[in-house]
């Protein structure tokens, strides 16, 4: 199963249309999409507007590949479950977000090899063709770096001393 998700905040029809086209041309009937309140209704892909967080994790768990906007909720969940994730960043110029932070995030984590980036809808099909050949990746632990945990823990331990 391939799970496509755009997060709960805003639609991302450019991604869903590209995923739907890919599913149609590759004759894949095993694609499920969470599309938010978009205007585009997929033809080849089963979909829901929203899924609850537990169902979201279940879908990621069952999927062979995740395809998503470059939101950190989607990226971190895929990494924690060891699933290959293709990300297509939302762009401010199409009013898909306020700024291009997703472009920077996609490029950065793409360069690290943690995500596979499709810059835009024209690149998505070939990137997905590649991603479906991949197996599970190593799962990351479900916690922040030791450095961040220590920074916060030390601050909390010291708080209130002067109250």
């Amino acid at each position: 199963m391939i799970f496509a998700t755009v997060g709960s905040q805003a639609p991302f029809d450019r991604l869903i249309r590209a995923v739907d086209d890919w599913a149609g041309s590759r004759k894949r009937s095993d694609v499920f999409a969470q599309i938010a309140a978009g205007d585009y209704c997929p033809v080849h892909v089963k979909y829901k507007k929203f899924v609850e967080p537990q169902e979201f994790r279940q879908l990621v768990q069952e999927a062979k590949v995740i395809v998503a906007h470059a939101g950190m909720g989607s990226i971190i969940t895929a990494l924690e479950m060891g699933k290959p994730i293709v990300v297509m960043p939302r762009r401010a110029r199409y009013r898909e977000t306020r700024n291009d932070h997703q472009v920077a995030a996609a490029n950065h984590f793409g360069a690290q090899g943690r995500v596979i980036v499709a810059d835009d809808e024209n690149r998505l099909a070939e990137v997905l063709d590649y991603a479906v050949t991949l197996g599970e990746t190593e799962r990351i632990e479900a916690k922040a770096s030791d450095e961040l945990i220590t920074t916060i823990r030390n601050f909390i331990d010291a708080a209130g001393v002067d109250r």
Partner: protein, 158 residues
């Protein structure tokens, strides 16, 4: 034991605040830092309750800068929760609910932590730039965004 040492070792009340999606995911990843402390959570989706069983859990309606009435309502809800909880520490990974929690927490004498989202690689988020100035500990997750006057870098959620 001297008073100061006793207090250092004591259990603190922590109020942990995040809106949905990546903000909540990142807050869950720093939870080990709250071990041994009493933690209450504030977020925007009922479904997140099961992520933090055994903790007090508050829901607020999220808002953003395009919804001024929503922001006022959110500020009031968050202020009520902070006043009720009287936390020693407020920690947030964003966005709007955390901004208000940091402001009100500071006013009521809590120590406050703002962790700017890992997604902000090129510059801080708007809520981060605003809230960070009011936080006692203002963190970016990117070393190249750290500045002498804040934010500082102290590790990342990944």
């Amino acid at each position: 034991m001297p008073d100061k040492v006793k207090k250092l070792a004591s259990r603190k009340k922590v109020l942990a605040v995040a809106s949905s999606g990546g903000h909540w995911t990142q807050l869950l990843r720093v939870m080990p830092a709250f071990d041994c402390h009493e933690v209450a959570f504030v977020t925007v989706l009922e479904a997140y309750r099961s992520d933090v069983p055994d903790h007090r859990f508050y829901l607020v309606d999220d808002a953003n800068r395009w919804n001024k009435f929503g922001l006022i309502k959110l500020a009031a809800s968050v202020a009520w929760i902070v006043a009720k909880e009287r936390p020693d520490v407020v920690v947030s990974t964003g966005a709007a609910p955390g901004y208000f929690a940091v402001l009100v927490g500071r006013l009521l004498g809590a120590k406050t932590i703002w962790i700017d989202s890992i997604t902000n690689i090129e510059r801080l988020s708007m809520s981060g730039a605003l809230a960070g100035k009011h936080a006692n500990l203002w963190l970016t997750q990117w070393p190249h965004l750290a500045k002498a006057e804040g934010p500082q870098y102290g590790g990342s959620v990944l």
